[in-house]
Amino acid sequence: MKISTIKDLLEAKVICCEEGLNRHVYSACGSDMMSDVLAYVKDQAVLLTGLVNSQVIRTAEMMDMNCIVFVRSKMPTAEMTELAKESGIVILATDKRMYEACGLLYSNGLVGNRVKNV
């Protein structure tokens, strides 16, 4: 699924790295616990989270993720945005809650570790 499609489905704002909107993600992970995210390697995944601190960006970087979506109207700090820019990670922010955001992406074909119609 293209990151731009994720943006549209979640009616999200682009916080940084807009130039990466044409890239694709092939799996997704929704969690506020970073160690749970780190437990399962996924290639080119998007991370959905309501946690706001620098470790969210570092976790995504360690996992080679290229997009983070902040749910529940959470906004990253300026420091976090800088870290994301250094790593070229697209940051989106949506008003939707975690459950709805994950459900929208899943039902439109972004199915966890598998690829379906993306």
Partner: protein, 140 residues
């Protein structure tokens, strides 16, 4: 690569925000060395979890990464409280982290299991009241 390459980092135990900086640097260094993306990811995740542990449990410490022809070795050493029961600490979901740490997204009891999951060898030497030394290796 004929000679081993070594990187050494001091991990600041007083600054949660900067935790992980050493792992980010290691990831960059390994990329420059041309290691495979999978090897780099395994090393950096294992080291990142270790770094976070040193910050949240031990007040910081020292991290050394050695790259040889066959493997990447990560050595983490701290003078923290030590681990009372290593077998218990290795169980997924077991954590002694405070609610405050959990609110920061860690302390799910996955740190040490993740370090083992991503490495080919892991050894923990810990003495209560003295500190903890962890050696991990990822084969190239």
């Amino acid at each position: 690569m004929s000679e081993a390459l070594k990187f050494r980092f001091d991990v600041d135990g007083n600054d949660f925000t900067s935790a992980g900086k050493a792992s980010v640097q290691v990831k960059k260094n390994l990329r420059q060395l041309g290691l495979s993306p999978e090897t780099i990811r395994r090393v950096s995740i294992a080291m990142y979890e270790g770094e976070i542990n040193m910050v949240i449990h031990a007040g910081g410490g020292v991290a050394e990464v050695t790259v040889t022809e066959d493997c990447v070795e990560i050595f983490l050493s701290d003078k923290g409280p030590g681990i009372k029961d290593i077998d218990q600490a290795m169980q997924e979901g077991f954590s002694t982290a405070s609610d405050n740490i959990r609110s920061l997204g860690f302390g799910a009891g996955m740190g040490l299991p993740n370090m083992k999951r991503y490495t080919d060898y892991m050894d923990i030497k810990s003495t209560v009241g003295v500190g903890t030394d962890i050696t991990m290796r990822v084969n190239i």
